[in-house]
C-alpha cells in the first residue's frame, strides 16, 4: 500500500501496474494515471484501518492532494491479496460521500473560471467536465 502510494508520488507507475491483481490489471487506465501524477501534488497518505486475514487484507485509507490549485481528498476501502509473498491491489471501493474530484459546473452568475472577470453566462460555456 505504502509502496504504491510512493510510486504515485514519484511517478513510478511501472510499480503501480506491477502490483495489480489479475482481476483489476486491465482496468488500469495508465495513460490517465501518467497525466494525473504530473498534475497532482500528493500531500499525505493516512492509513486509517488495516484488517489482515492470512493472505487477504482490507485497508481503509485517505490521500490528500492538490490539483488545479484545489485541495482534494480520496477515501477508499482497498482490498489487497498476497500472492507468492507479494501484496497485490485487488480492487477498492471509493467513497462517494467524499469529493473525489471536483466537477466543474460554474454557476451562471459566478465569475468565469477562465479569469476574464465576466459572469460565466456571458463567457465560457457550461458543459460539465469529468474524467
Amino acid at each position: 500500500m505504502r509502496s504504491r502510494y510512493t510510486a504515485y508520488v514519484v511517478g513510478a507507475l511501472d510499480h503501480v501496474a506491477a502490483t495489480h491483481a489479475e482481476e483489476v490489471r486491465d482496468d488500469f487506465n495508465r495513460a490517465e494515471a501518467e497525466r494525473l501524477v504530473r498534475v497532482c501534488q500528493f500531500q499525505e497518505l493516512d492509513i486509517r484501518k488495516v484488517v489482515e486475514n492470512g493472505d487477504c487484507a482490507q485497508i481503509d485509507f485517505m490521500i490528500r492532494f492538490r490539483r488545479d490549485n484545489k485541495d482534494m481528498i480520496q477515501v477508499e476501502l482497498a482490498e489487497f491479496r498476497r500472492e507468492n509473498g507479494r501484496w497485490l491491489y485487488a480492487g477498492g471501493k471509493l467513497s462517494a460521500q467524499v469529493s473525489q474530484r471536483t466537477v466543474t459546473r460554474v454557476g451562471r452568475n459566478d465569475p468565469c473560471p477562465c479569469g476574464s472577470g465576466k459572469k460565466a453566462k456571458k463567457c465560457c460555456g457550461t458543459a460539465l467536465h469529468d474524467a
Partner: protein, 254 residues
C-alpha cells in the same frame, strides 16, 4: 390525422457545427478527423426517449436512482461555435462519400421513437432546410419514407449497445461521484451532459487497437488545441483537449 412532411437539404452547412453524436463504428473509423469523447446524457423515466433507449439497451440504469438511466454516446466533441473539420470553405462536406451515418440520417435521430421524428424536421434557427411543398415527402403516416440511413444507424446503435454498457459500468464503478452528478443533472429542467475521455473508453473496452486509435487521435487534438488557443470562451475545451492529448500521446507511445 396524420400529415405528410416535406424536407430537402439545401447544403447550407449550418448543421455542421458543434458536437456530433457518432456511432461507435464511425467514431473509431474517424479517429483521425474528430476529437472524440464519450458523452453521458441523463434520462428520466418520464422523458420521451426513455422507453426507446431502454428497449434498445443503449442506456444504463442508475442503481439507487429509480427511474433514471444514462445514455452514453461516442461524440465528436467540438464547441458549438466551431465547424466540423470536414466542412469545406464552400460549406460542402469534403468527405461526402464516407461521412458518418449520423450525417446521412440527419435530421432524423435514431435514439428517438420513429413516430416522434416529425418534430426533428422543423429547421432550427438559422438552418436553411427546404420544408416547402415542392420538397420531397420524407415522413408520412408516422413513418420515415426513405429509411435506409435511419435503419442503418439504428442497427449500428443496437449492435454497439453491449460495449457501451461495458464502458458505462466501468466508469460508474471507478468514479462513484458520476452517479450523483447524473442524478443531479437529471433533476434540472435542462440536464447537462457529462464528458468522459477516450482513454477510459479504450481501457474499459480492452480495445486491441488503442495504440492505432491514439496515433490517429493525437494530431487531431493538437490541431484543436491550436484552434482554441487564446480564446476565452473556448477555454474549457482547450484545457480538455490538452489533457486528452497527453493521454493519447502516452497510448500512442509518442
Amino acid at each position: 390525422m396524420s400529415v405528410s412532411l416535406h424536407f430537402a437539404c439545401t447544403a447550407c452547412g449550418q448543421c455542421c457545427y458543434g458536437q456530433l453524436p457518432l456511432t461507435l463504428k464511425d467514431a473509431l473509423a474517424h479517429a483521425g478527423r474528430f476529437p472524440l469523447a464519450l458523452l453521458w446524457t441523463p434520462l428520466r423515466k418520464g422523458s420521451k426517449d426513455f422507453p426507446l433507449v431502454s428497449h434498445l439497451g443503449v442506456s444504463v440504469p442508475l442503481p439507487k436512482h429509480a427511474g433514471l438511466a444514462a445514455l452514453v454516446v461516442p461524440t465528436s466533441y467540438i464547441p458549438p461555435s466551431m465547424a466540423c473539420p470536414a466542412l469545406g470553405p464552400d460549406m460542402l462536406c469534403t468527405i461526402h462519400d464516407e461521412k458518418p451515418t449520423r450525417c446521412k440520417s440527419m435530421p432524423f435521430y435514431p435514439y428517438r421513437e420513429e413516430r416522434y421524428q416529425a418534430e426533428l424536421l422543423k429547421p432550427r434557427k438559422g438552418w436553411e432546410c427546404d420544408t416547402s411543398d415542392t420538397a420531397p415527402i420524407v415522413f408520412s403516416e408516422h413513418k420515415i419514407i426513405h429509411r435506409a440511413d435511419f435503419d442503418q444507424e439504428r442497427r449500428d446503435i443496437e449492435e454497439q449497445a453491449p460495449i457501451m454498457r461495458m464502458f458505462a459500468n466501468y466508469l460508474l464503478k471507478y468514479n462513484p461521484l458520476l452517479m450523483g452528478t447524473l442524478a443531479n443533472e437529471a433533476s434540472k429542467p435542462k440536464p447537462g451532459q457529462i464528458v468522459s475521455s477516450l482513454s477510459s473508453f479504450l481501457t474499459a473496452t480492452r480495445n486491441p487497437k488503442a495504440r492505432d486509435i491514439a496515433r490517429a487521435q493525437a494530431p487531431v487534438l493538437a490541431s484543436f488545441i491550436e484552434q482554441t488557443a487564446g480564446q476565452c470562451e473556448l477555454q474549457a475545451y482547450h484545457i480538455q483537449y490538452l489533457a486528452w492529448l497527453d493521454e493519447m500521446e502516452y497510448l500512442a507511445g509518442i
